[in-house]
Symmetry: C2
C-alpha cells in the first residue's frame, strides 16, 4: 500500500491514481514529457485512511512536498505555488473541488481534505446516483506545481492539434496567446495568434512542441488535442486527449495513419464514426458559423440545399425543368407531393417529426429536409411563410441545412460531396472486414445506377408499386380494379404485361451482374384509385366505398391480393420471366405480408421458371412464429422491419407520429423512434426467433433485412450479431452501412479474442 | 401364424382380425351373444400369403366352412348362404367390397379373392393416400352365415338403443319391422313399429333382447345402438356401437351411468362432448323437422328465438318495454345498434360472416343470431325483406334458429333451457377435475349476476367503455374531449368521477366475494364523438378531423391515452378506490394495449391504494416479447387474444372478415377463423413465449385469458397445456369452458399415466 506516488514511480494504475493522475504519470514517466512536478495521494491508502480516521498522514505529505520543491528548485510560498485537484477512476466533470494558487503547507493539507470531502458532496452523490457510479470508488488527490504563462514576455499558453481537424493535414494546427493563462484564452478578451507564429518567435519552443506532439501521436496512436504553457521560455505540457475532428478529417487521418504505420486498418475502421461519415456524404454549408439562421426545425434528412421557395409540387417540377433549384415548403407533405419532392433540392415543413412523410421520403431520396419547424407559419393561399415578423414569399431564396435543422435567408455557399480517395480506401477495407452484405432498396434504373456507384452489392428490395403509378399504367390498373367482368379484367392484365416487362428489362440492364430481389405488389388496390373528393364518376365512387378499409395497414394487401386476385401476381411473374429471357439477370422474387406457408405454396404454383429463387418478406409476426414452416418452402427471408415494427408494437406509423410518438420519446417511454432505430427488445426478439427457427429448418436459409432500420448503425450491430446475411438500404446510406457492418464484425472478433484469452488463462490455472 | 380364426378362438386382436372381425369375437366369444356363425381369414397369414402368391389355402377354407356348416346345422347352398366382407385394422367406410348371399364353395373362394384384391383398388389407394393410412396394413376377410329376417311371420329385423337418445331414459328404445331384411328398413317402403310391441308379440325374443343389450352396455360402458335380426323366432345380434344422442340425453346418460356404477366420474366428464352441452344451453325449436324453413343463413349465435320483425333498433327497444319479443333484421349491424340488439330476442342479418359485429355481439349476449342470409334482401326504407317472392313486413312474426341457421315464418314452439340437476352435477365434477379457472367477461351488474348463476369464478374482464357510453355521461366525456383549456377538462373529470364511482359500486355489490379485474379505458377518444355526418357543430367537426386515425386499431388508445391524457386514468383509479371504500371488493386493475414496462411504471404512480393488484393485458406482441420485464412490474397478465390475433396475423378483424377471410377459409389457407378458434401455431407461440419469460421472471405470476377464444374448447386445451391460470368468457360459455377445462386436465392425467407406464416398463427391461 502506497500513500503517495511521485510521477517517477511509474505506476499508471487508474484505480490507485485516478484518471488524471494516471495520465500525468504516462506523460511524465512513460513518454518523458515536461510536465509540471506533482505527486498523487493514492485512493487505496491515503483516501481510504482519511475516510476511516478523518486524518491525513502529514509526515508523508511533508516529505513529498520537499521532493517537489527540490524538483522545482523553489520553495512553497517563495516562487512556488501548487494546485490540488481530485482524480477519480471515473470522470465526474465539474463535480469535485479544485483549488489553485496555494502558497503555504497548511492550506495544501486543508485543500487535500476539501478534495477528499467533496467526494461526498450532495451534487457528487446525486451525479453518481444518476450515472450508476458506485459510491465506494473514492478519489485520489493531485498536488501539482503551478506554472505561469503570464510571467513575462517569454511566457504564454496555447492549444494545438497534431493534425488539422478540418482537412486532416498533418502538422501543428492551433493557437497561442502570449503573456496569458488558460482562462484568458477562454474569456476571449484577447485574440490568440496561430501557433505557427511561434516558429519564428520562439523557434526552440516550437521545435520542442512539434517533437512532443509527434511523440504523443505515436504513443496514443491518434490525433491529439494538447494544452501547453510556456513559462519564461520553458515548455510545459498540461494535458493531452484525442482531438475532435470533422467528417472528412476523420477519414483522412485514419487512412493516413495506416500509411504511416501508426495504426492498423482494423483500428482505422473502428475509429471513424458513422456520424463523421454521414456528415461527409452530404453537401455542407461553407463556414456555417458566419451566418445567422432565420429559424430552426428538426434535422430530418442530412445535407444542405439552397433554392427558391415554392409551395406547390407542380411548381417545383416546372422550375426543375428550367434548371431552377427550389425548396418545397409545405405545412406537411403527403404521397401526392412526391413529384414535387423529387423535383425540389430540399423540403421544409412546418409540422411533422423525424418519421413524418417528408422526413422518410427525403432521406430515402438523399435530399435535404428540415421538418417540424414550428416557428414558421405557412400560408398556402398567400404563398408565403412567416417567421416572427419576417415574411418569406414565393420566389425568395433560402438555404436549409438538414444536418442541423437550420434555415437561412439567401443562398449560402455550399461544399460539394465527393467520394474522396481516402473514403474509397476506407470502404474497401470495410468490405474486407464485414460479414454483412450491403444491398440497396431501389425501384428505378436511375436509383440502381446511383446505388452501384455507392457500392451496393445488389438490390435487396425492388418495389413494384411505383411502376403502376406511372401515368401510362395508372389508368390500366384502374380499369382492372373497376372491371365488372372477367373479360375486362383480362384485357387490363394483357395491357399491363408488356409495360411491366419493359420496366423489368430496363432495370435488369443496370444491374451489371448484381443480384436483385423483386417484391411483388404490396399496396392495397384502393390506393390506385383517386381520392373520393377528386372523382365524380359514380362507378369509381362506389368502388372506393367497397374497397375502403378500417385499418388498411392490417388489411387487404400483399400476398392477400394474390389469394383474391391471382391475375395480378401471375402477370408480374410472367413479366419478370419474359424480361429475364430478354436480359439475363440473377433474379429473386419475394412475397409481401405473408403470414402462413399455405399462402406461399399457393403462389408458388403461379411460376413457370424454376430458376427464380423464391422468398418471403418476414413482416408479420406470424411469419416469424412459423419461420420453420416457411423456411422449408422458400430459399430466403427478408425482414420488412418497418411493418414488423408496426405489428410488434401495435403502432400505426402515421398515427403514432402524429398523436403520441413525441410524448413517448419525451417521457422516456421509448429510447428511440422505433422506425429509425430497430427496437431490439421487442422487434429484435421476434427477429431472433425467426432466424433461429428458420435456420433450424433450413441451414443455408438466406436472411436479409430491407426496411430503413437496416441502414442504421446501432441496428446493424444487432443484425450482424443475430446472423443476418445482408441489409438493404437507400443508396445514400450504403457507405455508412458498410462502415457499421465492418465495425460490428471487428468488435465481435475482439470480444472473441478477449474470451479466448480468458479461457486460456482459466485453463492455465 | 394362424390362417383362419373361428369366433371361438377368442382372439380379439384387431391387427390380426381387423375391426369387424375383432368385434365379432368380442360379441360371440367374450359376451356370449347369438351372432351368426363366421370365420375370419387372418391378415398376417391369409392375406399376406395371398398377396405374395396370389393363391388361397383352399384346404384351410374347406375345413373352416365344414365347421360353420356344422354349427349352423345346414349345408352351403342347401339352406345356408354366407357373406364375405373385408375387415381392416382401420375403418375405410365404403371402400372395400362386400358380397352377400353366396351359395357355393367356388363363389366363396372367388369372393375372398375379390375382397383381398379390393385392398388395392384405385379408390382404396386414393382413400388411404388422403387419410395417411399406410398401404401395407392389409385386410382380413370375414365369411359369415346369412340370417333372414324375411323368412316367415316369426322373422323380422330392428334397431334398438339401450336408452332413449333424446331423453336419456333407461330402457329399450327403437323400431322393429317384421318379415323384413335391413334394406327394407332403410328403403322406407314399410313403416316399422316401436320395438316395445315385441313385448307382447314375441315376449321371449324381447326378454332376450333386453338382457343382451344390458350385457352390451355393461361390457362397453356406454349406451349402445344395436342391430338385430329375428329368424323364425331366433334372435341374432348383427352389430353394436355407441349410440348417438342429443345434448340433454348425453348429460343424463353420463350422470346416470355413474350412479349405476357403470362408469367413473372421470369417464362421464370425458364422454359428454362440448357440442352436446352447447345444444343443451340454448332454446330449441320443438320438433324442427315438422317445419319448412323460409331460408337459411349462417348459424352465428346458437339458440332459437321468435318474435315480430323490426328493422330499427329504437323500435326493438320500444317494443321490449311493452313486453313484445322482436327479431331485429338489418343488412348488417354496427355498434350504434347495440341497444336494439340488447332489446331484441334475436338478430337476422343479410350480410356478414361468423365474426361479423352481429355474430360477436349476440354470442357475447347469448342471443340467437342468423347472419349472412344472402338470399334475403332487406329494404330499410320500405321496412320489409324479400326472400324469392315472399315479402316479410315489419310486424310479421318469424322464428330463427341460430344453431342451424334456419329462418322460419311464424312463431314456432320452443323448448326452454333449464340447468337440469344432471348438468349441475356434471359441472360440479368438472370443477373438481379442472385446473383452469373459469371467469366471465361482464361489464354490468346484470351480466355479473347472470354469470354467477352460470358458475363464474370471478370477473376476468370488466370493460369500462360502455359506462362512458351511457347517455348521462356521453356528454360529459365529449366535453372533456372538446375542452380547450385545462379548467374545462378538469370540470369534466370532476363530473365523471361520481358517475364512475356509482358504476363500480353497483358492480361490486353483485360480486358476492368473487374477484374482479377492471380494465381501464381502452377505446380511442374519437369513438366517443358522433359520426362526422351526424354533427353540424364546427368545433366538433374540427376535433373529429384532428382525432381521425389511419389505423385506429394500431393507434391512440389504451394505455397510450394515459400517457397523453393522464386525467382519465387517474379519475378511473380514484373512482375504483372510492367504490372499494363503500363496498369492499377483491379488485384488480389492468392496463390495455401495453407495449413497454415504462408505460406501466408511469401509470403505477397514479395509484394511492396499494392493495389493488395491478396487471397488464398482453395484447401487443411487444408486451409478450418483454414479458420478463413486465412480470417484474405487475402481479398478473391477461392475454387479450382478440387484439393479439390481429397483431400477430396483421389482420384487421373488420377488414379481414369483409374482404378476405372467407376465401382464406375456403382455400384452406387458414383452418379456422382465428377470431373464433385460437391460432395455436402463430398467436399460441407468442403466448407460450410470454408465459415462459413471464414466469421465469416471476414464478407466481398469475396468467389469464380474456377474449372470446378463451371460451372455445379447442383453444382451452392449449391454454391448459401452456399453464394459463384461468380463462374468461361470456356468461353463456361458462359451463362449456368448464367442461373443456376438465377434459383437458383429465386427458393430461391420462397421458402422464401412459408415460409413467412406458417409463416403468422401460425401467424393468
Amino acid at each position: 500500500m502506497t500513500y503517495i506516488y511521485s510521477l517517477h514511480d511509474g505506476c499508471e494504475d487508474k484505480n490507485e491514481l485516478g484518471n488524471k493522475g494516471g495520465n500525468l504519470v504516462t506523460m511524465a514517466a512513460k513518454i518523458g514529457l515536461p510536465v509540471p512536478s506533482a505527486f498523487v495521494l493514492s485512493i487505496s491508502d491515503a483516501y481510504r485512511q482519511y475516510k476511516r480516521t478523518g486524518k491525513l498522514d502529514e509526515a508523508e505529505i511533508d516529505k513529498a512536498m520537499a521532493s517537489l520543491e527540490k524538483e522545482m528548485k523553489r520553495e512553497l510560498g517563495k516562487g512556488l505555488e501548487v494546485s490540488v485537484r481530485s482524480s477519480g477512476p471515473v470522470s465526474m466533470p465539474g463535480m469535485m473541488d479544485t483549488i489553485l494558487n496555494i502558497g503555504d503547507m497548511n492550506k495544501v493539507k486543508a485543500s487535500i481534505q476539501q478534495v477528499f470531502e467533496s467526494w461526498d458532496s450532495k451534487r457528487a452523490i446525486e451525479y453518481r446516483r444518476l450515472n450508476s457510479i458506485p459510491s465506494d470508488l473514492g478519489t485520489a488527490a493531485i498536488v501539482q506545481a503551478m506554472v505561469y504563462g503570464n510571467r513575462d514576455a517569454d511566457s504564454g499558453t496555447g492549444v494545438v492539434f497534431t493534425r488539422n481537424p478540418s482537412t486532416g493535414e498533418r502538422g501543428l494546427f492551433g493557437e497561442y496567446l502570449s503573456e496569458a493563462q488558460g482562462e484568458d484564452v477562454v474569456s476571449g478578451a484577447r485574440t490568440p495568434v496561430p501557433v505557427a507564429s511561434l516558429k519564428t518567435k520562439m523557434p526552440k519552443v516550437y521545435a520542442e512542441l512539434d517533437k512532443i506532439t509527434k511523440q504523443l501521436e505515436s504513443y496514443y496512436h491518434d490525433m491529439q488535442d494538447v494544452e501547453f504553457t510556456v513559462e519564461s521560455g520553458k515548455l510545459y505540457i498540461l494535458q493531452t486527449r484525442s482531438g475532435k475532428r470533422g467528417g472528412y478529417a476523420a477519414v483522412k487521418i485514419a487512412v493516413d495513419m495506416v500509411a504511416e504505420g501508426l495504426i492498423t486498418r482494423e483500428e482505422a475502421v473502428l475509429r471513424v464514426t458513422v456520424e463523421a461519415l454521414r456528415s461527409l456524404l452530404h453537401k455542407r454549408i461553407k463556414s456555417p458559423e458566419s451566418y445567422k439562421p432565420l429559424t430552426q426545425g428538426l434535422n430530418a434528412a442530412p445535407g444542405a440545399a439552397g433554392g427558391k421557395v415554392v409551395f406547390e409540387p407542380a411548381e417545383a417540377a416546372a422550375l426543375a425543368k428550367q434548371g431552377v433549384a427550389t425548396i418545397l415548403v409545405r405545412p406537411e407533405t403527403s404521397p401526392d407531393d412526391i413529384h414535387g419532392i423529387a423535383a425540389a433540392v430540399g423540403v421544409l415543413t412546418q409540422k411533422g417529426g423525424l418519421t413524418s412523410h417528408a422526413a422518410i421520403v427525403t432521406r430515402a431520396m438523399g435530399k435535404a429536409c428540415v421538418c417540424g419547424a414550428e416557428t414558421i407559419s405557412v400560408d398556402m393561399k398567400a404563398e408565403h411563410f412567416v417567421v416572427g415578423e419576417k415574411v418569406v414569399k414565393k420566389g425568395d431564396e433560402i438555404t436549409i441545412d438538414g444536418s442541423t435543422g437550420n434555415v437561412y435567408l439567401g443562398l449560402l455557399p455550399l461544399e460539394e460531396v465527393s467520394v474522396v480517395p481516402e473514403l474509397a480506401e476506407l470502404i474497401s477495407w470495410c468490405n474486407g472486414f464485414k460479414r454483412l452484405g450491403v444491398r440497396t432498396n431501389a425501384d428505378t434504373p436511375e436509383m440502381i445506377a446511383q446505388a452501384v456507384q455507392f457500392g451496393a452489392e445488389g438490390v435487396g428490395l425492388c418495389r413494384t408499386e411505383r411502376m403502376f403509378n406511372e401515368p401510362d399504367r395508372l389508368n390500366v390498373i384502374r380499369s382492372f380494379i373497376l372491371a365488372d367482368t372477367d373479360e375486362e379484367r383480362q384485357a387490363a392484365i394483357k395491357k399491363l404485361l408488356p409495360l411491366q416487362k419493359k420496366d423489368f428489362t430496363a432495370i435488369f440492364k443496370k444491374l451489371n451482374g448484381l443480384p436483385i430481389i423483386i417484391r411483388l405488389l404490396d399496396m392495397p388496390l384502393h390506393e390506385f384509385l383517386p381520392a373520393e373528393k377528386d372523382t365524380t364518376d359514380p362507378k369509381v365512387k362506389k368502388r372506393i366505398a367497397e374497397l375502403r378499409e378500417v385499418n388498411p395497414m392490417l388489411g387487404h394487401r400483399g400476398i392477400r391480393l394474390a389469394v383474391t386476385h391471382p391475375e395480378l401476381y401471375k402477370m408480374q411473374i410472367e413479366a419478370i420471366e419474359q424480361a429475364m429471357t430478354a436480359v439475363p439477370a440473377n433474379v429473386s422474387i419475394m412475397f409481401p405480408q405473408v403470414m402462413a406457408v399455405e399462402e406461399v405454396n399457393l403462389v408458388k404454383t403461379f411460376f413457370k421458371d424454376t430458376d427464380i429463387k423464391i422468398g418471403v418478406m418476414v413482416e408479420t409476426v406470424r411469419a416469424a412464429m412459423t419461420a420453420d414452416q416457411l423456411a422449408e418452402a422458400v430459399a430466403f427471408f427478408s425482414f420488412g422491419t418497418n411493418d414488423l415494427t408496426q405489428a410488434t408494437l401495435s403502432f400505426s406509423r402515421e398515427d403514432a407520429e402524429e398523436k403520441f410518438l413525441a410524448p413517448y420519446l419525451e417521457k422516456g417511454l421509448l429510447k428511440n423512434d422505433p422506425f429509425e432505430v430497430l427496437d431490439i427488445q421487442g422487434v429484435g426478439k421476434v427477429m431472433e426467433a425467426a432466424v433461429f427457427w428458420g435456420r433450424r429448418a433450413k441451414k443455408d436459409l438466406e436472411i436479409g433485412v430491407c426496411g430503413e432500420q437496416g441502414g442504421e448503425p446501432k441496428s446493424i450491430r444487432f443484425l450482424h450479431a443475430i446472423g443476418v446475411d445482408y441489409v438493404s438500404c437507400s443508396p445514400f446510406r450504403i457507405p455508412i452501412a458498410k462502415l457499421a457492418a465492418a465495425q460490428a464484425a471487428l468488435k465481435e472478433k475482439m470480444s472473441v479474442k478477449a474470451e479466448d484469452a480468458v479461457a486460456k488463462s482459466v485453463s492455465l490455472m
